[in-house]
């Protein structure tokens, strides 16, 4: 048996909003449904919780409250939502389902006290706290549409006077505008620690239209950016949009591509025919042209001279044109499309002839992509690896000399000699006395997609009589190279021939190209060490290694 008690009881809501505890002697203001409210019983703060008469909330938001005295249970109903709360119980029923409260409702002077945010949010009401004015803001949660679709859940709408304040950065994020710098933040309110701006101010700052349809209690936001132009210019790509948008970028390999997605953006009418995958309304020959630069237009006019009834030959022509351009241009291809229509997303693909990093800079009228090309392979690429270095001296020679100095001296000579051959591109792992991890040496070779890897070492053993030249390989693709290197190297040293062996040393195991590690001779053997430290002998070794590389290049390429 329930009685309608709303007029008889004044229920207080227990407010559990953060920050309220501190100032027990300061008054708390209420803003309900956009209106400042002065309740008959002023809000009070007790034990760190602020209590507000529920009638005010109920009336302000159109909720009804039924009170059942015997069970000390209140049923609050609003629209489709009903919330049943019992004094002293942390368990509540929301639409018949059990939910947990962080604090139980309590009775105080015959008033039931409830946590406001819990009650409000359960009933679909937006509740916020503005610290600067010590105001609780509670209002109905309006419907919100962005470009004709339901707005994201993360957007909060707070009503104050006759406007809605919206969490500003959450809105900007939708347009890719991260950490947006607002021009007039002072026109906003900081609610629950976040800057909110009036709809009109958002419209001023972001463009588009931000309006509240009071009749439907619906916030309607139209903000579509039009992409008007995409232009490649050397190491830059300029993207012109009617409204600022931030791009989500992805980097892909094979071929190297930078993919930019522009949220809430549509192609300008003039660009549609040039977009990727476009099939003209009547003519097929305009298909899939993806270049936006003037050169592409020339290509297009060339093509229009020839019969365009064969798609395949047309494709081939495209490919040949691209291959021709690929010679020196950084950007191999630039294409774009209306990638998604719900929500509208434009995708711009920058296809590159060489791996590049990039930076994006934003302005009022678009995005500038600056490409930073990474060095690229131009010839038959040989990575020369001087073993050890820096803190790792390698083996100790009998005269106190270090292996790392021998390997560097020979490697530097090899690099200089190889540079004389225009067909070779040479990359040393180190050219000075620095330490490199084994994995760094391998990464250099693999990242460069090297054709050969040669690691130079010198041996050592506790028996000073031990000596000789040996060469190692590990992967099957390296055996021929190892045999050639060893033939030339041992021929030059005339040391004991210790042979070619398979062994899983890190740098020859993890490199993908033919890779060899050589041990020229023993630094622990006095006779060999005196030769290994002689610059003339080192030059001879370097020449032998280069001869091996040349022979391999001529025989196997």
């Amino acid at each position: 048996m329930k009685r309608r008690l709303l007029p008889l009881f004044v229920l207080l809501l227990l407010l559990s909003l953060p920050g309220w505890a501190a100032a027990a002697d300061q008054s708390v203001h209420l803003m309900i449904g956009g209106q400042a409210v002065q309740p008959e019983v002023p809000p009070i703060i007790e034990k760190g919780r602020t209590l507000v008469p529920v009638r005010v909330i109920a009336e302000g938001l159109g909720a009804s409250v039924d009170w059942d005295q015997p069970t000390r249970t209140a049923v609050i109903a609003r629209g489709q939502q009903t919330l049943q709360l019992t004094v002293g119980s942390k368990q509540a029923l929301l639409n018949g389902k059990k939910v947990q409260l962080d604090a139980p409702p309590t009775m105080k002077n015959q008033r039931m006290l409830l946590p406001l945010r819990f009650v409000g949010e359960s009933l679909g009401v937006t509740v916020g706290w503005e610290e600067s004015t010590r105001t609780v803001i509670a209002n109905e949660t309006p419907q919100a549409e962005l470009n004709g679709q339901k707005a994201p859940d993360g957007w909060k709408f707070y009503q104050a006077d006759d406007t809605y304040y919206v969490s500003a950065q959450a809105v900007a994020d939708q347009f890719g505008l991260k950490n947006h710098a607002w021009k007039r933040p002072e026109r906003g309110r900081t609610i629950d620690g976040q800057l909110t701006l009036p709809l009109t101010q958002l419209e001023t700052e972001l463009g588009g239209t931000f309006a509240w349809n009071q009749k439907k209690n619906q916030v309607e936001i139209e903000r579509l950016s039009y992409m008007e132009e995409v232009e490649a210019d050397g190491e830059y790509v300029h993207i012109k949009t009617t409204l600022p948008v931030g791009a989500e970028a992805i980097v892909l390999n094979g071929p190297h591509r930078i993919v930019l997605d522009l949220p809430h953006t549509v192609l300008d009418e003039d660009l549609i025919p040039q977009s990727y995958g476009y099939k003209g309304p009547t003519e097929q020959k305009e298909k899939a042209n993806s270049d936006a630069d003037s050169k592409a237009e020339d290509d297009e006019s060339d093509k229009s001279d020839e019969p365009a009834d064969d798609d395949v030959s047309d494709d081939e022509a495209d490919e040949m044109a691209e291959a021709a351009k690929a010679e020196d241009a950084l950007i191999a291809d630039l294409r774009f499309s209306q990638f998604q229509s719900s929500p509208n997303t434009v995708r711009v693909v920058i296809e590159l002839n060489q791996k590049s990093k990039y930076t994006l800079s934003y302005s009022e009228d678009g995005i500038e992509v600056k490409l930073i090309p990474q060095p690229r392979k131009t010839g038959y690429l040989i990575v020369v690896d001087a073993g050890h270095g820096g803190k790792d001296p390698g083996a100790l020679g009998v005269t106190g000399n270090h292996e790392k100095d021998y390997t560097l001296a020979v490697a530097n000579k090899v690099v200089e000699l190889l540079k004389q051959y225009p067909e070779f591109q040479v990359v040393p792992t180190r050219s000075t006395d620095v330490f490199l991890e084994l994995s760094e040496r391998v990464a250099i070779a693999n990242d460069w997609d090297a054709d050969l890897f040669l690691s130079i070492h010198a041996n050592s053993f506790s028996n000073p009589n031990s000596g000789g030249t040996e060469s190692f390989y590990y992967n099957a693709n390296s055996k021929e190279f190892a045999q050639l290197v060893h033939k030339h190297l041992q021929g030059a040293t005339q040391f004991q021939n210790r042979g070619v062996k398979a062994s899983g040393f890190y740098v020859i195991k993890h490199t993908k190209m033919p890779a060899v590690l050589t041990e020229t001779g023993f630094l622990s053997n006095p006779k060999e060490n005196s030769k290994l430290t002689s610059p003339d002998f080192q030059e001879k070794i370097a020449k032998a290694l280069v001869a091996a590389i040349r022979e391999y290049y001529q025989s196997y390429q």
Partner: protein
């Protein structure tokens, strides 16, 4: 005192431990042709006090005189617990008995700690060690270590750290990032 007695009792064993680090230049002391049998069997009775040391003959591995293949030697160790057993085995890697034929692959090897837990033997090596071996020597040294320690069935893997941290390589040729396991013991 105790140490001296054992030195006498065990013949070459401890002497070689002391000599470790000087390498084979010190091969001078007249090598006893067959040092093992008589002195070593006699040793146990000479153990002072009631310390109950376990004795075991183990295999220890060295290089041949030209860094081509591992050579096995049988040596006897006495230890109070398993940890001491591992430590003595590691120490013997520096001390072949047949100094003319066998060359140690570990010389003056210093480590901060040697611990054993659930089949994993962890050696925290001193980063200042100078190993003075080339690529083939490094592989043989690691193989000698593995074969010597994996003869104890309870040892399932060996982890080598440097100054308490994982290291990529001890000598700059072979990576030791992954624990050494029985699967990869010498070809």
């Amino acid at each position: 005192m105790n140490y001296r007695r054992r030195l006498v009792g065990l013949g070459l064993f401890a002497l070689l431990l002391l000599a470790a680090g000087c390498g084979q230049q010190n091969a001078a002391p007249a090598p006893v042709p067959a040092p093992e049998p008589a002195p070593q069997t006699g040793a146990p009775t000479e153990e002072p006090s009631g310390s109950s040391l376990t004795k075991q003959t183990i295999s220890v591995f060295y290089s041949d005189n030209d860094l081509l293949a591992l050579q096995e030697e049988k040596q006897e160790i006495a230890f109070a617990d398993d940890l001491e057993k591992y430590k003595k085995a590691v120490a013997l890697l520096e001390a072949p008995q047949e100094k003319e034929k066998h060359f140690p692959l570990w010389v003056d090897f210093k480590y901060h700690s040697l611990t054993f837990e659930e089949g994993k033997l962890t050696i925290d090596a001193d980063s200042h060690n100078v190993y003075n071996l080339g690529s083939s020597g490094e592989i043989m040294a690691l193989d000698a270590l593995k074969k010597t320690l994996f003869q104890f069935p309870e040892v399932k893997s060996i982890v080598i750290l440097e100054d308490g941290k994982p290291a990529e390589s001890l000598m700059g040729h072979v990576d030791i990032v992954e624990p050494l396991t029985r699967d990869e013991v010498a070809q």
